[in-house]
């Protein structure tokens, strides 16, 4: 609970009930568009007021362009979605030239999600972004395969995860988020390694590895065979990781996974998240993030909380369970 004090900016209570401060990252509200589900910003602009969102996390950006996987790249599952986009992106240079300018003037907070296949690649993407204004935080996606070490994902091993974190930390003073993979035996060990290596904030969780069968073709449904499971199906998995990790580390945690309603957000907050990211539900309900932001103040009050900050970790052992 060491991190708890950090999360409560003096005087914020009652004035800005939705405002949150995650280490050095200050947001008007805790609702962040999740990486990969919100493009680079303009795609959803016809439907969503970007300035209303707590922040926008862009699609993962790598040093060179990545092709991603062959289609089909999505498949519906019970209360969920499998995707195998494969981190397609045009590379950091094109991102800075074509996409950042729009984001800079959109009036929102910008989180750039970065990816790489070697430790050096991650660092070089971060380095390149240092030259750009209008970026509020970096989010390091450690679910990428480490090509130098036989392809095991960086996020599946505490040491690899720490290596990436240290390398990015060395080149940036921006708030540094590291995004945890759920596909591990011990998420807390990864979280602790990454926090020690200099992460300011954790986000959890990325998608859960899964697959589907297309019975029409009697083949794996996705072009890439396996994919990442998201949506309400994974909410219990995400809540458990947020609950355990947030108690084990002294830094704020952003909760992600299957959030569809303001109630879901409150569940993540009381489990220990200081903010949340919202992904898959946007595909069906582009305005849902704004609706959640609108509903949250009354919901907090109904449960006896005067602010988001008060709710954070209210379900932890030893906490009173809220203001009631």
């Amino acid at each position: 609970m060491a991190g708890q004090a950090d999360l409560t900016p003096a005087g914020s209570v009652g004035e800005e009930p939705l405002a949150v401060r995650l280490g050095g990252l200050c947001l008007p509200n805790p609702i962040i568009a999740a990486s990969g589900t919100f493009g680079f910003g303009p795609e959803y602009a016809p439907f969503v007021r970007l300035s209303r969102l707590g922040a926008v996390a862009v699609k993962g950006v790598s040093l060179d362009p990545w092709p991603g996987n062959p289609p089909p790249r999505v498949w519906e599952t019970p209360a969920g979605l499998l995707n195998s986009i494969g981190l397609q992106n045009p590379g950091v240079e094109v991102f800075c030239r074509d996409d950042l300018p729009f984001l800079r003037q959109a009036g929102t907070r910008v989180v750039v999600n970065i990816i790489g296949k070697t430790v050096e690649e991650y660092a070089r993407v971060a380095e390149r972004l240092e030259r750009e204004a209008g970026i509020d935080a970096l989010e390091v996606n450690i679910s990428c395969p480490n090509v130098k070490e036989g392809g095991i994902a960086f996020g599946q091993d505490p040491e690899h995860a720490a290596l990436v974190t240290r390398a990015v930390r060395a080149v940036t003073d921006r708030p540094l988020i590291v995004k945890l993979s759920p596909n591990v035996s011990d998420p807390v060990a990864i979280a602790q390694a990454v926090a020690e290596a200099g992460a300011d904030i954790l986000s959890a969780i990325n998608t859960v590895v899964g697959m589907a069968i297309d019975l029409e073709r009697l083949r794996p449904a996705l072009g890439a065979v396996t994919g990442g499971l998201s949506g309400p199906a994974i909410k219990p998995i995400a809540l458990r990781i947020v609950y355990e990790v947030s108690q084990a580390v002294g830094i704020p945690v952003i909760g992600i996974g299957g959030i569809e309603t303001a109630e879901d957000v409150l569940e993540f907050l009381v489990a220990g998240a200081s903010a949340v990211m919202v992904g898959t539900v946007t595909f069906r309900h582009p305005r849902r993030m704004e609706e959640i932001i609108e509903a949250l103040p009354a919901l907090l009050r109904r449960h006896g909380f005067r602010s988001v900050n008060e709710a954070v970790g209210a379900a932890w052992p030893g906490r009173s369970g809220g203001g009631r």
């Binding site: 959803y44 699609k59 092709p67 289609p71 519906e76 986009i85």
Partner: protein, 257 residues
Amino acid sequence: MGPKALEVVIARRELVAPEHVELYFSHPALKEAVPGQFAHIATVGTLRRPISFSRIGEAGEAAVLFRVVGRGTAWLAERREGEVLDLLAPLGRGYPPPDPGRPWCLVGGGVGIPPLYAALGKWGRGMQSMATVILGARTAAAVLMADDFRALGVEPTITTDDGSLGERGTVLGPLRRWWQTHPEGQVYACGPTPMLAAIARLKSPGGRLYLGMEQRMGCGVGACLACVVPAAGAAMPPWRRVCSDGPVFAAEELRLD
């Protein structure tokens, strides 16, 4: 005006063929919809369902015609007049307006037919000569909208796999003959991807060919990169998005093998 989140009331529902339903509605935001564009419709499940417009009127009247293939379209087929649909629309890039001076051929297979009808409805009267329409289906009962085309003054050439109506075989036979006599013609095609690939192989060098593509979609608005099809040339990433770069592509834009 661009795409919007719309709630539309179903004004009319019609069973146009076994397992094929057409739903009519209208909304001012649909006034500017272009044939080939689609609506991303909330049904059941995690994702919306993309369906092309089968009709586009000048005052925002529109319709979608779909085949029941799974849970989402089954739900949609059960909607009744007066019920509300939740759409993101109009989405994507539709067909370009045809060159009025060039011979025009519309080639559709199965549920690829409706957007072509919308195209003829919008642009048919402005053409210097009557368009040619070639409709393909597995069997007679699945030939869609033939009477609608007739009402626009075109007698469609029909092919069925089983020969139960029109010429036995696929749309490729009549199209090959058309292209021989109209090598500079413009062809608007829509249907299953293998059919479109075969059509692209027939294309005469001087002709123009626009293809309405399908792919499994996530967002429908260009954000998630789910709906890609292979791009021609050396583009990197080597894909185009069906939902926002398409669904209509000039044949030259794609790698269709």
